[in-house]
Subunit: 224 residues, 2 copies
């Protein structure tokens, strides 16, 4: 369904766990992929180094664009504003809102769509999952549908926006990654972007939990 009709796609690729499993999944389906990483000035740009290493190992072409001036107008969030700290522990409604980069996914998807149009590719793939829905308004299925509606009519060459993990939990994604022999240790989740995963921020807590619930070993080196 989400893979069958599409033979060529651009993957929005952060180097995080979710998009790395999606990359492996797409390759396993025989889909021709160009990967796209964007530096929008995020604190955790460390993830982009991981994206590069994983793509190199797989022989996938990765385009990385330096768009860090964007952060000048991405206000009020811990990921692009140096004066707002990354919240620790399980996400609460209050703390999760702090991590939301305004309209991040529409910006990134629209750039990926532009590239797909020029390449005459069929789709843009995006690794939003069901655990994201409660945290990020721009990961919800209705939002992805709205962006897909734009991509279908933005040019004479229509593009689809597909989020095959939209109904999966992070635990499901870890299970899928294990089946595909994904080297989890090479992926990056931590929002603090230090040398190692901090183990305390919301994304680290989620990452740990996903491995625990999937009853799979977590190869991640955490600071704590």
């Amino acid at each position: 369904m989400l893979y069958k009709l599409v033979m060529k796609g651009v993957l929005l690729y952060s180097g995080g766990l979710d998009s790395s499993v999606l990359l492996y999944k797409l390759i396993s389906k025989g889909i021709e992929i160009q990967a796209l990483s964007l530096n929008y000035g995020q604190r955790h740009s460390r993830e982009l180094q991981q994206a590069k290493e994983i793509c190199q190992a797989l022989g996938v072409n990765l385009k990385r664009l330096e768009l860090s001036p964007l952060k000048e107008l991405l206000l009020g969030n811990s990921q692009t504003c140096a004066d707002i700290e990354v919240p620790e522990g399980h996400y609460t409604e209050e703390s999760m809102k702090l991590t939301v980069v305004p309209n991040r996914n529409m910006m990134m998807l629209s750039i990926a769509i532009a590239w797909a149009v020029g390449l005459k590719y069929d789709a843009v793939y995006f690794a939003a999952h069901s655990g994201d829905h409660t945290i990020y308004p721009d990961c919800r299925p209705e939002f992805i549908q709205a962006v897909d509606a734009c991509a279908r009519i933005c040019d004479w060459h229509p593009v689809r926006v597909l989020a095959p993990f939209s109904q999966l939990s992070k635990t499901d994604i870890v299970r899928l990654g294990a089946k595909l022999d994904m080297p989890f240790g090479k992926t990056w989740s931590c929002y603090k972007g230090g040398e190692r995963h901090c183990g305390k921020c919301g994304t680290c807590v989620e990452r740990k939990e996903a491995f625990a619930k999937a009853e799979l070993p977590d190869p991640t080196l955490y600071e704590d």
Copy 2:
């Protein structure tokens, strides 16, 4: 209708004729405006200098972002590819397609929406007009509606995307600008981006025609 409910907006502002008239119109309606200019590597970045001068004269805050690495993935068009020449004369279907930057408007609007969300502003204004519809798929009312649908749900703070000139011709816009005492000579249209307007490219031809049809003097200095 398109102005009444909105008191604060971000204007996507190129320094061209259309968006300059829209800026004057919004100010005349008492709307608080932040203007946004984006350098995506366009050949005619000369227009951005005009945007700066016009905003300075009006006391409007203008944010200009340097995002020229974007052009690395904006393929197959005369505006961001050095090896594709800007077509001359009246647009034909063939020639007009050459000038289309893939998904340009969705990229620019999504960045403007991100800023509007952070500012807690109500809307993003965009100067697409009816003459654009036949040329640019991403200026059509159905496309603007699709982007508006994204902007309404991309965050807990909803934003509207408004294109008040969507049903106006360029001639109508010139007439409106004249009523608002717009200094037309300060705006920039030419896609070649030289020292003066070339007078030959599709946008120059349209600009000349709009003044002629509106029966108003054209203060533009053309090369030819």
